[in-house]
């Protein structure tokens, strides 16, 4: 129930009341720290034991972790291979292309952030951010020894900040042009990174993971919507085909599909027609992802109330227009949380390319730990890669939570 409309409020001004407003519930004074500890840590004997035991565990492992990170670990394997972790074997004199892409994306992300994410920051959020920023800067200064790279990173951060400020200033009317910019971004980036003195074969490291993830997400989204529509189609031939396809793909591991792309896909093509390994991997990955997108969209479509279809029919809309103008917009809005969850797992799954010897982040990390001079430092080689995957996936999920609030998912 939305209650009274704003218009009604304006017409009937609220009566001015002199009496103090009756308080429904007495407000509780904030807990003192002693009370808080008693209530949250030692509310019963069992809880006290639990607190002491788990506190000891946390202290022990925390101490071990801090000692490992700052004292006993030798991060030189990561320091020496930092560029390989990020871009693989991308030629060093062409790195300006990567930086151009980074600048472009930083601005675009900043603008989107400014437009989409509410600016309210709790004090805790602010503190968390400050701690993270200090840690990141410290780690970068320690790991990266080139002042030029520091400068370029500072420019990236500055562009992001400018984007955020500009995005806030301009507000939601920027939404449409942002959408267009994002749609154009991918072809522009791919062209910049593959035309001229470089080629897609030289992509590697984290860059390859991101490119593959973005390509798969962009391609599987429309394909998934088509599959979902096909599954709901009233034509049995179409819906059976879509059901079969979706269930087949969802029933087998992604790895077997990627192996299929490596060995068999080429045989199904007309003789003479060949595609690069990477293109075939992206193709199979897209098929895989679209089956999951289709199931998410189907869930969203099922959530659209029957009355919406009836209302559209009463207005005389055709089936196509009902779908495009009434059902799909509502369905897609409600699928934002699971969809972003799926996109995060697509990004995580790009690590599977390591099992097929593509030189993506995980593969690079494992390979550099096998070099003779770094024997015995496997953990130091793998942990930075794991951390990079984690940071991106974690911040995507946090970001999506805030965007959901802004877009009002689940409230309309």
């Amino acid at each position: 129930m939305s209650g009274r409309l704003p218009g009604d409020l304006e017409r009937t001004p609220l009566p001015v009341v002199d009496e103090p407003v009756v308080q429904v519930a007495p407000t509780r004074p904030p807990l003192t720290s002693g009370e808080w500890v008693r209530r949250n840590l030692f509310s019963s004997g069992f809880n006290g034991v639990l607190t002491v035991a788990s506190g000891a565990l946390v202290l022990f492992f925390g101490f071990q972790l801090v000692r490992f990170v700052f004292v006993s670990a030798d991060w030189s394997v990561f320091q020496a291979n930092l560029r390989v972790y990020m871009v693989g074997r991308f030629p060093e004199d062409q790195l300006w292309r990567v930086w151009a892409v980074v600048f472009f994306l930083a601005t675009l992300v900043g603008l989107s952030h400014g437009v989409l994410v509410p600016r309210h920051l709790t004090r805790r959020g602010l503190v968390l951010r400050a701690v993270l920023a200090v840690l990141t800067v410290g780690a970068l200064v320690y790991l990266v020894r080139s002042p030029l790279v520091w400068l370029l990173m500072a420019v990236t951060v500055a562009l992001f900040a400018v984007g955020v400020v500009a995005g806030r200033r301009l507000g939601r009317r920027l939404l449409r042009s942002l959408l267009v910019a994002w749609l154009l971004a991918f072809p522009v980036v791919v062209l910049l990174l593959s035309v001229g003195d470089v080629s897609a074969d030289q992509w590697g490291g984290l860059m390859l993971n991101v490119i593959v993830a973005v390509a798969v997400i962009a391609l599987s989204f429309p394909l998934g919507i088509l599959l979902a529509l096909g599954r709901r189609s009233s034509l049995p031939a179409v819906s059976w085909f879509c059901v079969g396809f979706i269930e087949l793909i969802r029933g087998v591991p992604l790895l077997t599909l990627l192996i299929f792309g490596r060995f068999v896909l080429i045989l199904l093509m007309p003789p003479g027609l060949t595609f690069a390994q990477l293109v075939r991997a992206i193709f199979m990955f897209t098929l895989f992802s679209s089956a999951y997108v289709a199931e998410i969209v189907r869930g969203g479509l099922q959530g659209v109330p029957e009355g919406q279809y009836e209302a559209a029919k009463a207005l005389g809309l055709s089936t196509t227009r009902t779908m495009a103008l009434v059902a799909m917009p509502q369905a897609l809005r409600s699928t934002i949380p699971p969809m972003i969850g799926h996109f995060i797992s697509v990004f995580k799954d790009t690590s599977l390319l390591a099992a097929l010897s593509f030189s993506e982040l995980l593969f690079t990390a494992r390979r550099s730990s096998q070099a003779f001079e770094f024997v015995g430092h496997q953990a130091e080689a793998l942990l930075p890669a794991a951390f990079l995957f984690w940071v991106i996936a974690f911040s995507m999920s946090r970001w999506s939570q805030r965007v959901e609030v802004r877009l009002g998912v689940g409230e309309r």
Binding site: G251, V252, P253, A379, L383, A386, F389, S397
Partner: protein, 391 residues
């Protein structure tokens, strides 16, 4: 002039029934053309490579060794090798499902604990593990933890019952002696006895209306029959304690490093998702249910067991099913660390026999079959819990 609308037929191109049939016919035709083209290309490509599309190659001699699993030697056929892979997949998937469920339950309950510290620990576990790729975790456990353990000579030991080294783990286990078969029958009988006692005590409870302890009685009956059986069949099992030999463990239940790493990775990763399922499904039970149970005078344990958990289970089973399927499918990542399950054995077979098409069909078919079996069990479970009440 009046038109008879009831009998007038629309022209063919506006007849919905006709259009639907036409549309489907075109769709099927297009599919058939694409499929035929792909098949012809496949046949041509395979002939170019001097291969065929039959499954006869499975009878050929495999010629490669497999490190662990059921009895097999390199002189047996490709088919036998594949069977070893299937058994190894089942071995890791079933154990993984059980352990991940336990871990998820514990962590899910911890996630809802009234204890702030415990709650936070569970939350940090979920946020770290869920957002890191499972393959990264498996490789980390294998390369950076298991292989970095001491060599076999300096194996870490826990009361000489558990040994851990970079050759894997050995745990004290049971050895079946003569009479184990007879004892097995006693075990079945014990189960039946326990069930009967449980039923009888429930009846007593319902008839008298006085609380009658049921579970202790049932467990007691079970244990009595088991003990009697143990004595009658003359110590059917004995302890099998592992020892550290020069080249490896001797005795005990031995687990390879690859299996350990894969299991650790899968259990910890899937456990984090199950944690969230457990938390979500308990929170999905309306608060009023618990309050009503409290008002009826049920003890906290009874509230949980009789009111909250049965309802939470209904919410939890469908997402649990999909996590179990994910665990099964993620076990294919063993390819990266060389645990010989379906995909890594098949990869070797493809490298040796080059019949990628047939091999992949076989692999995908096997996975589909296993996925369907898990789903069937879970659906049966789902029916069992939803049957009792209508929502």
């Amino acid at each position: 002039m009046a038109t008879d609308f009831t009998t007038a037929r629309p022209p063919l191109w506006r007849n919905v029934r006709f259009l639907r049939i036409l549309g489907q016919a075109v769709f099927v035709l297009l599919l058939a053309i694409v499929a035929r083209e792909a098949f012809l290309n496949l046949e041509y490509g395979v002939r170019e490579q001097n291969l065929d599309l039959s499954f006869d190659f499975l009878q050929q001699r495999a010629g490669f060794a497999i490190k662990e699993g059921i009895a097999y030697n390199p002189n047996e056929s490709f088919y036998s090798a594949f069977r070893v892979g299937v058994v190894n997949t089942i071995r890791v998937a079933l154990v993984g499902i059980v352990l991940a469920t336990i871990l998820g339950l514990v962590m899910g309950v911890a996630r809802l604990s009234t204890n702030w510290l415990v709650r936070r620990i569970a939350q940090v576990y979920v946020e770290i593990v869920r957002n890191t790729p499972v393959l990264v975790q498996i490789i980390f456990w294998y390369v950076a933890v298991i292989l970095a353990l001491p060599v076999i000579g300096g194996a870490l030991s826990l009361w000489s019952l558990v040994f851990v080294s970079n050759r894997g783990t050995a745990v004290a286990w049971f050895r079946l002696e003569d009479g184990a078969g007879a004892w097995g029958l006693f075990l079945l009988a014990a189960l039946a006895a326990g069930a009967l006692v449980l039923r009888w005590r429930t009846r007593v409870d319902e008839r008298t209306g006085r609380p009658a302890p049921r579970v202790p009685w049932a467990v007691g009956a079970f244990l009595v029959v088991v003990a009697v059986g143990f004595w009658v069949s003359g110590t059917p099992v004995s302890a099998d304690v592992p020892e550290v030999g020069r080249f490896g463990y001797e005795g005990g239940l031995q687990v390879s490093p690859e299996y350990t790493a894969l299991l650790l990775g899968l259990v910890i990763y899937t456990g984090s998702f199950i944690t969230e399922i457990v938390r979500g499904s308990i929170q999905a039970v309306p608060k009023g249910q618990k309050e009503a149970a409290e008002a009826l005078g049920l003890s906290p344990r009874q509230q949980l067991r009789l009111v909250v958990l049965p309802q939470a289970l209904r919410v939890a089973i469908p997402p649990l099913n999909s996590q179990y399927l994910n665990l099964l499918k993620n076990s294919s990542l063993a390819l990266a660390i060389g645990y010989p399950e379906i995909v890594s054995v098949s990869n070797t077979i493809i490298n040796q026999a080059a019949r990628a098409t047939q091999m992949l069909l076989l692999v995908m078919g096997t996975y589909l079959l296993m996925s369907l079996s898990i789903s069937a069990v879970m659906n049966a479970l789902n029916r069992a819990v939803t049957r009792k009440g209508q929502r």
